[in-house]
């Protein structure tokens, strides 16, 4: 046959994408498939499909672990998959629950023809995916072993978008090849990196400022990798597996960092709430309810002045509402304060309600006077002060959260820090002295340790004596040794810190009082010892006893005896 016919027979390559709709986290009070979870009142699947159709994808395959009929119905009703537009096919996979299982189904069905986008149903991404695809193709042309290009979004540490407890550490070579991929335990103090990471040549980057939106471009070789490795359940397994077996199988991964573009996931409750807020704050524009999230006009219109995105038939009373998405038929009463809220359809919010960062699904009722921030209320919940069935999420306090005007929260923050510093100091000194006593360390060295602790925690000079005394006087109980031995050993320390100033002596006495609060009988004994060691002087002790000592101590027989003896001693020496 002439070569011309061969050319005609070659199939036109169709740009494909695979959306993996694996099992929804059990945090969510929602029984449907992940793709139908509502984010800012719009189904997650709509965000994903919008992003893909904007990239010019011609065929999207949605692999669903459950609820495929519901997904199919939604796709049809929303106008996705019409002729001339992107084709959307929902594939039901019985018995496949995890990401890995669904990928194995994909391999089994042989539906992939070339490079394809791989996302999960909870990925929300406004980035233009075409440069990602071009980069992948360029990489594959250069490196025959490249199988996947992972996309990462930038979010510096402390960013609200970083909701996972274990954050990503990514190591890349100058070419973008992934050299290391670890999820770091926040409590870990050590980091293990393979040495050959550093030996890869100039331009190696270690990045801790990335978030993983579960977005990638894969080549044809990827689905078989899942079939070959039955233990690959999550996407992280896949990435780690590829890295580990790089020498054996020869597959390489590349990373593409999105510049100035938004991409995130809404897979866990904290990330769901964070992504909701991002949608409200317009970071996901044009994927916002009022613009281009589906083929059907939902009727959301944006009030630009107050950033309220609402459907028709919403009535808001005399309230302070800003930065909200409100579904149709909802009613908001008077005197409310709503910030960064997503309110579903037909909700009723009564007067005097104060909400921040809340997500209410359809038909919720919030009773008068309810105040809360950062929570999710499932459908038809009734929220009131006594009966609160919402699901809270621990979120770092924002500036405009409920029940904190900025001033008081700053003070609280500072106070909290102060208390921590003293506690820190106390603990550090206690540790040093306990160890010092056990190992018979020279007290001069211990003094050095105490001083460095003091400067590290920024303890003011007039309070050092108080805290050091507390530690020393508390040691006999802590070490379970007789006070005589302990105090004798630490005498130089006491003498140094308690010194000559009466303020310091008073501090020491205060410390004594505190330490012996539970066992006042001990107080007299210790006081005697302190006097005998010349740490404290009669005058100060007597004065203190008469004026500022607590009731308990004054009533102690031993104490009284001791003070009397002191006074007679005074008279004698005078």
């Amino acid at each position: 046959m002439p070569p011309k016919d061969k050319e005609i027979l070659k199939e036109k390559e169709v740009l494909q994408a695979v959306v993996v709709d694996d099992l929804l986290s059990t945090d969510f009070p929602f029984s449907g498939p992940k793709g139908l979870l509502r984010l800012a009142n719009v189904r997650l699947l709509d965000y994903t499909l919008s992003c893909l159709s904007a990239a010019g994808v011609e065929q999207t395959l949605v692999y669903a672990a459950q609820g495929s009929e519901q997904l199919q119905e939604h796709v049809r009703a929303s106008g996705w998959g019409e002729p001339g537009a992107m084709a959307v096919q929902v594939v039901a996979c019985q018995g496949s629950l995890t990401f890995g299982d669904l990928m194995r189904e994909l391999d089994a069905r042989n539906a992939i023809q070339g490079d394809f986008f791989l996302l999960t149903a909870d990925t929300v991404c406004t980035a233009d995916l075409r440069p990602l695809l071009l980069r992948h193709r360029a990489t594959c042309a250069r490196d025959k072993n490249a199988v996947v290009t992972l996309a990462f979004a930038q979010a510096e540490p402390q960013h609200a978008a970083r909701t996972e407890p274990k954050q990503l550490l990514l190591g890349t070579a100058a070419s973008g090849r992934v050299l290391a991929h670890q999820r770091l335990d926040p409590d870990a103090r050590n980091l293990d990196l393979p040495l050959d990471l550093i030996l890869q040549g100039p331009g190696v980057e270690l990045r801790y400022d990335l978030s993983d939106p579960c977005l990638a471009v894969c080549s044809l070789a990827v689905p078989p990798i899942f079939s070959d490795n039955f233990d690959f359940q999550t996407r992280d397994d896949f990435v780690r597996g590829l890295l580990l077996n790089e020498d054996i199988l020869g597959h390489t991964m590349y990373a593409h960092i999105l510049q100035d573009e938004y991409a995130s996931r809404a897979h866990s409750l904290p990330s769901y709430l964070a992504t909701s807020v991002d949608v409200i704050r317009r970071w996901t524009f044009p994927l916002t309810p009022d613009v281009s999230l589906s083929q059907v006009d939902r009727g959301y219109r944006l009030d630009v002045v107050f950033n309220i995105c609402k459907q028709s038939d919403v009535s808001i009373g005399r309230s302070d509402v800003e930065d909200c998405v409100i579904g149709e038929g909802s009613v908001i009463g008077d005197n409310c304060r709503l910030r960064l809220c997503v309110i579903g359809k037909n909700c009723v919010i009564h007067d005097d309600v104060d909400l921040c960062g809340a997500v209410l699904w359809d038909q919720c009722v919030v009773k008068k006077g309810f105040k809360k921030s950062h929570f999710l209320a499932p459908e038809r919940t009734v929220l009131s002060k006594n009966n609160d069935k919402s699901i809270s999420v621990k979120v770092e306090e924002r500036m405009d959260s409920v029940d904190s005007d900025t001033d008081s929260s700053e003070d609280e923050g500072e106070a909290a820090d102060e208390v921590d510093e003293y506690e820190n100091f106390f603990n550090e000194v206690q540790d040093s002295l306990e160890r010092g006593f056990g190992e018979k360390v020279n007290t001069d060295d211990l003094v050095v340790e105490i001083n460095s602790s003091r400067f590290a925690n920024d303890i003011p000079a007039n309070e050092v004596s108080l805290w050091v005394s507390k530690v020393v006087l508390g040691l006999p109980a802590a070490l379970k040794k007789p006070p005589k031995d302990v105090l004798a050993y630490f005498r130089p320390i006491l003498r140094k810190y308690v010194g000559k100033a009466s303020a310091d002596h008073l501090n020491c006495l205060l410390a004594l009082e505190e330490v012996t609060a539970e066992g006042p009988a001990e107080a007299a004994k210790m006081l005697t010892l302190l006097y005998q060691m010349d740490v404290l002087e009669e005058d100060t002790i007597v004065e203190w006893f008469e004026e500022s000592a607590g009731q308990q101590l004054r009533q102690q027989a031993n104490m009284r005896k001791f003070i009397e003896w002191l006074q007679t001693a005074e008279e004698e020496s005078d």
């Binding site: 001339g84 960013h159 609200a160 100035d260 281009s292 083929q295």
Partner: protein, 362 residues
């Protein structure tokens, strides 16, 4: 459930795709493509009476504008063509120019329109409509030329002209003047138009045509205005009131020009004339402005900003009719106070066109 699909679905989706992905670039091309789409519908066999045709155009139009929410030109062309269909129907039914005159006048009084159901059979209506649409398309093709012809009268030698952002029609306008008389020297001051900063590209375009160009930042608009003799603006929409919906910063330019008694000329072809009345007087369905992605103003990766600061990046600015002197369009130059009449001729009365497409004219 009624099917959303019709014989035009595929073509409509392909059109939306092409416009969205920049295969069809520029508002003129978008206008032409939309006109072609309506032409296709009118030429098809799917309708016999005018009301059928209006319904099909309305349905398809609504879906098209939903898929292209950020392209105002699409909505404008659709509404203008629907008005043309009504006008042709009225003419065909009454067969006299006086009737058409009354039709145009009755646009002010929509009760007459209400009574007309557009359902009478009119032989020859289809041909008349197709002819009129063809005329409309020719007008579109000639729109740039018709506008640039007027450049010679509008700009005098030695003028200092200010503009903001990038507008291809304004660039064509200025280039035409430069090309017309060899010794006509005029200067252009381009304000960058933050945060998009398209003014930079505009300055490049003009410099390529050997026009003396100065690029300034928006904050310097006031200080430069004392040297400016004329302001020429492009716009996204011209409203019925004569006000504009233009890029952010345009209001500021208009305000400063007004204070310095500098005339403001707006260059806009008819497909940018909108049936929206004014920023403050519009139906709930019509959206005037949107908050776009804050990435232009601040970066999402900055955690402090992203979590705590409200970053506003409005898409458009409203320029009140007081700040506009003239509108130069392909159907002539209008003083701002005549815009209402001019737009009524394109769309019919406010009430009439508001019912069409029942959509947000974004």
């Amino acid at each position: 459930m009624k099917s959303r699909m019709s014989q035009f679905t595929e073509i409509r989706n392909k059109l939306a795709f092409n416009i969205k992905h920049g295969n069809i670039q520029g508002s003129l091309e978008v206008a032409k493509a939309t006109a072609n789409f309506v032409d296709l519908i009118a030429s098809s066999d799917g309708w016999t009476v005018a009301s059928d045709l209006l319904k099909i155009v309305n349905d398809e139009g609504k879906k098209l504008t939903t898929a292209l929410p950020l392209h105002a030109t699409v909505a404008n062309v659709l509404l203008q063509l629907m008005h043309i269909i009504r006008a042709e129907y009225y003419y065909a039914v009454n067969q006299s120019t006086q009737a058409v005159q009354r039709f145009v006048e009755s646009c002010m009084n929509c009760e007459e329109i209400q009574e007309k159901k557009f359902s009478a059979q009119c032989p020859g209506l289809k041909d008349a409509i197709l002819d009129h649409i063809a005329e409309y398309k020719t007008e579109l093709d000639l729109s740039v030329d018709n506008i640039t012809e007027q450049a010679a009268e509008q700009i005098q030698p030695g003028e200092v002209i200010m503009t903001i952002g990038r507008s291809s029609i304004v660039a064509a306008f200025l280039q035409a003047k430069k090309a017309s008389e060899h010794f006509s020297d005029f200067q252009v001051v381009v304000a960058e138009g933050a945060p998009q900063c398209e003014g930079v590209k505009m300055a490049e375009l003009l410099a390529k045509s050997k026009i003396q160009t100065t690029l300034i930042s928006d904050t310097n608009i006031y200080s430069f205005m004392s040297r400016v003799t004329k302001v020429i603006l492009g716009t996204n929409l011209v409203l019925r009131s004569g006000g504009l919906r233009a890029l952010p910063g345009a209001h500021m330019v208009g305000l400063v020009a007004h204070e310095h008694k500098v005339p403001v000329i707006v260059v806009a072809p008819t497909y940018k004339f909108s049936s929206m009345l004014s920023e403050s007087h519009r139906s709930d369905n019509e959206t005037f402005n949107l908050l776009a992605n804050p990435q232009g103003v601040a970066k999402f990766k900055d955690g402090i900003i992203a979590s705590n600061v409200k970053v506003l990046n409005p898409m458009y600015d409203f320029v009140p009719p007081d700040y506009v002197s003239q509108v130069v369009s392909n159907i002539g130059t209008y003083g701002v106070s005549h815009m209402f009449t001019a737009i009524n001729e394109l769309y019919g009365a406010v009430e009439e066109s508001a019912k069409d497409l029942k959509m947000a004219v974004v």
